[in-house]
């Protein structure tokens, strides 16, 4: 389970998170929506301990992430797969080596044949061929980078998966394919997941619950049906803008 209790974060005078209370049950997939710059990625980085809250607490499996000593934090991170917005692939390594680095067990990491099989399996899970393993990140398209980033995130068989804007920068066809991929991975891995996005339609498709981050706080949380029926003006405005835009582009 992931739980955020009254999390505050500011950079200089700019308040990004202003008392976020939010939880994700084991095995659940939650889509975290919000406009660009609303602090969605900052919130994800708190969960994996890349940032510490100024105030409040982030709990993963009941452990306070900010209070964990170095080794315990590293151990916790091996249970969490983080797919970065741009992939954040190590550009001096091949795709194979990038994904291999995601294998968290040290003995398995040193076992070359295990690594070859696991990397191949992860590439297949994200619909890429084994040949891609030989390429350098600079040779990949934006969509492929995101897929390889996801393959690296799942290589260590994590219990938790955090996706940072998996469909941003993709064309509608590839965005749909990415949503389908996330849906398929959820079925196969049963990981507790948070998908940060500003794509309402995609979020409705993949998430059990949806949360809207607005002005540094969680404005609304609920199922897709509850969200669609919400009367809150901010939720309505956010949904209508995206759905109107989607309808417009479909025509």
């Amino acid at each position: 389970m992931i739980e955020l209790r009254n999390v505050h974060k500011k950079f200089g005078r700019h308040v990004v998170l202003d008392g976020v209370n939010f939880s994700v049950a084991t095995g659940e997939t939650v889509a975290l929506l919000g406009p660009s710059g609303s602090g969605k990625s900052v919130l994800l980085k708190h969960i994996i301990g890349l940032m510490r809250p100024d105030q409040g607490d982030v709990l993963v499996e009941g452990q306070s992430v900010a209070a964990l000593p170095r080794k315990a934090l590293a151990a916790l991170r091996t249970k969490i797969g983080y797919a970065f917005q741009t992939g954040a692939l190590f550009d001096s390594m091949t795709v194979f080596e990038n994904i291999r680095l995601g294998i968290s067990d040290d003995e398995q990491y040193r076992d070359r044949s295990f690594c070859a099989a696991r990397v191949s399996e992860c590439l297949q899970m994200v619909n890429l061929s084994d040949d891609v393993g030989r390429l350098m990140p600079a040779e990949l398209s934006g969509g492929m980078r995101k897929r390889v980033g996801i393959a690296r995130a799942i290589a260590g068989s994590p219990k938790y998966l955090l996706y940072d804007e998996p469909t941003s920068g993709l064309d509608p066809v590839n965005a749909d394919a990415m949503d389908a991929l996330i849906e398929e991975l959820q079925k196969r891995l049963h990981a507790t997941s948070i998908v940060v996005s500003h794509d309402v339609r995609g979020s409705f498709r993949i998430a059990d619950r949806i949360a809207l981050l607005h002005n540094g706080r969680i404005r609304a949380v609920g199922t897709a049906a509850e969200f669609m029926a919400a009367k809150d003006s901010v939720v309505r405005e956010f949904l209508e803008r995206d759905i109107e835009f989607a309808a417009h582009t479909e025509h």
Binding site: K45, I48, G49, L50, R70, A74, A75, R77, T78, I80, Y82, F84, Q85, T86, A88, L89, F90, D91, S92, L101, G102, S104, D106, R110, R152, G156
Partner: protein, 271 residues
Amino acid sequence: MDSQITATTTAELPIPVNAARLVARPVLAALGHVGRLGMMVVELFRALPEWRAWVPRAVEQCQQVGYGSLFIVVMTAAFSGAVASLQAGYQFTGSIPLYLLGAVIAESVILELGPVMTGLLLAGRIGARYAAELGTMRVTEQVDALESLGRNPASHLLLPRVIAGMVMVPALVIAADATGIVAGWLVAKSSIHITNADFVYGTQHFFRTFDGWYSVIKAEAFGIVVTLIPCYVGYEAKEGAEGVGRATTTAVVSACVLILLLDMLLAKLLL
């Protein structure tokens, strides 16, 4: 009432307060850097037991620092030795016995030219590279990605680079010293017409074993400076391409200044 509160601007403050701020800000910033650099050094020591992570990467870095820099280091040393020989010949021919030129050339190369020229050269070649590499990794979230995988950036990124500097810079300085002396010798033979026997006698007569150690001690210190400072500056880079550019410049300038300061400090302490 909030609306009635007016902000006090810096211009409205009394002059001594403004002056104090002008002094305090850079001092506090410098202390902040010293503190964070100190923390990084602590992290490097804590990463030492993770040898499975840093040893193979350190070997790769050694190859890049050592083999990759060998040509330019040897070439620079050869020209430095040759010029030292020509200038010594110009200054001293006729005024002192020729065999002393051997001592002047060898001692200037071993004590000063070899280590300092190599250090400054590597501050540009290796320092710029490390700051740019780590800065780019920082701003493109590759460092965050490494941490998110439960890996320690100190053992995977920083320690291999610093170890490479500590191992390879002294080796390069020894190569530079040898090349500089040989180049100086050859030029002295052709331009000042010093005999081999005179050159060797002069070199041996004034050479102390400590001179060689002094050169290696300086090289070791410069090896740490040209890797640790760029690693720190690159690791702390922010704000995209401009931040990486700024980090690279800062790393090279800081490493060069520190090399010159250390050069003087070590001369004062050890000679």
